[in-house]
């Protein structure tokens, strides 16, 4: 900061100190009302020692959110009705929303948080990764807005979905859609193996690396079949443009399990074909890879 700015800041801070912020009565009243509500709530909570004994801090939070918040704020009541509470142990809820709207730009980013009753590092690591990714996306959105001084057109949307949530397996999918000239969509799937409470990537499912060729070959076969059936479908597998050509799946490729144990491999937009094929996915039959699955994944997955 130069001296000119420093002097300006000093002048402004002097003016701010002289200027009193008048909090309107309705706002003051709501603050008092909310604080006294919370004080009363805590007194009641102390009487019901059973809550404390079972160590259910999370339960207290849920009670506050379900019982108290809707009474204090109608907007909260509306938002809370959209919070999905899934499964018996792992829960996922929106902890943050980023948003921005003007004539040329729109951003709607939902940030999920995974709450695992097992208190595992896996959920923490997913939350950290989701947090970093969404913050980076939001920062980039604002940076671009700044750079072009609002003269560009851009959109950013992220949503999430719990794909699988069983006693054995958990999959969360984060979808990101950006528009800046052309639209681009990509996914990020996170998996927790509930038996070991560890994050699992595609490569972790298999005993050796032979899975890569088996899955890649099968996908290419399906791509060729689709192209043969429909002239409008194009995948980049014919080496006309080596820079784009789909070579193989990666160690951490996006996937999810179907109920019957088959694996679905997902591709982002423009990853293996033009925009017209969107975000294609390919089902790999369990019969193709069951022999190379690690023993712990041979049975009850998902």
């Amino acid at each position: 900061m130069n001296n000119f700015d420093k002097k300006f800041d000093e002048e402004i801070k002097k003016l701010v100190a002289e200027e009193k912020i008048d909090v309107p009565k309705n706002v003051q009243d709501r603050v008092s009302q909310t604080l006294s509500f919370l004080e009363n709530t805590q007194t009641k909570k102390k009487k019901k020692h059973i809550f404390v004994r079972i160590g259910a801090v999370a339960a207290a939070v849920v009670i506050l959110m379900v019982c108290i918040m809707p009474n204090l704020s109608s907007s909260y009541a509306e938002a809370a009705s959209k919070i999905p509470i899934i499964g018996s142990v792992i829960k996922v809820m929106t902890i943050r929303n980023y948003s921005y709207v003007d004539d040329n730009h729109e951003m709607k980013v939902e940030v999920p948080s995974v709450v695992d009753g097992e208190n595992s590092n896996a959920a923490d690591n997913i939350n950290k990764d989701v947090d970093e990714l969404t913050k980076r996306l939001v920062n980039e959105f604002y940076a671009e807005l700044e750079e072009y001084e609002g003269a560009n057109h851009s959109s950013l949307y992220t949503t999430y979905e719990v794909v699988t949530n069983t006693e054995r397996w958990f999959t969360l999918r984060l979808s990101v859609h950006t528009v800046a000239g052309t639209g681009y969509t990509y996914f990020k799937n996170y998996h927790i193996d509930r038996a070991s409470n560890k994050i699992v990537e595609l490569k972790d499912l298999f005993k050796d690396e032979s899975y890569n060729k088996i899955i890649t070959d099968n996908i290419k076969e399906q791509m060729k079949e689709q192209m043969a059936e429909d002239d409008d479908i194009v995948y980049w597998i014919d080496a006309k443009n080596p820079a784009y050509e789909f070579a193989s799946v990666s160690d951490n490729h996006n996937f999810y399990f179907k109920e019957n144990g088959d694996i679905v491999i997902q591709f982002d937009k423009l990853e293996v074909g033009p925009s017209s094929v969107g975000c294609p996915d390919f089902t790999i039959s369990k019969s193709l890879f069951k022999d190379i699955l690690k023993d712990e994944f041979k049975n009850d997955i998902p």
């Binding site: 402004i12 909090v23 918040m69």
Partner: protein, 162 residues
């Protein structure tokens, strides 16, 4: 954090909370909603606040996120900036015409400058605290502040403020 200490902190920062909420929502009824909702959210997660010294930036971050979320819903139908026009002169309680106050000059700025200026000058937040609260990188906060200073200078010089 004990209940009494929590309430005391909220009372202490009530004015800056209102200023920040107003910079985003520009409507007292919405500010009351956003502040009330933020207090409950903060109360529920107060155990997570390990360092009590950062209570102010912590509650302002919760408030900022809550208010932005409310604004998103509101912006679907209304252009907030259109609701507000800067009045050059205000009538004081004594009935005298005065020049615009600094607060009015700040309120006349567009977003994100209004909120950044409110956090920097009125809430006494550092650039890195603002970056954390508004989820913008530090260089971008500096850029926003620099532009906001230029805009404020222009408004205040026109008003012969200094």
């Amino acid at each position: 954090m004990e209940n009494a200490e929590f309430c005391e902190n909220i009372r202490q920062y009530e004015e800056v909370m209102y200023a920040v909420a107003f910079s985003i929502l520009r409507n007292d009824a919405d500010c009351a909603d956003a502040i009330s909702e933020s207090i409950v959210k903060a109360y529920m997660s107060r155990e997570e606040l390990k360092n009590k010294k950062v209570f102010k930036s912590w509650i302002l971050k919760i408030l900022h996120n809550t208010a932005m979320d409310m604004l998103r819903k509101k912006c679907d139908t209304v252009d907030i900036d259109d609701q507000y026009e800067l009045s050059d002169e205000r009538v004081t309680s004594e009935g005298l015409q005065t020049k615009i106050a600094l607060r009015d000059a700040v309120d006349s700025l567009k977003q994100p400058y209004r909120t950044v200026v409110t956090l920097y000058y009125y809430s006494d937040m550092t650039v890195s605290e603002i970056a954390n609260i508004t989820c913008v990188t530090v260089p971008n906060v500096k850029k926003q502040l620099s532009r906001a200073r230029d805009m404020l200078r222009e408004i205040l010089n026109k008003e012969d403020f200094f």
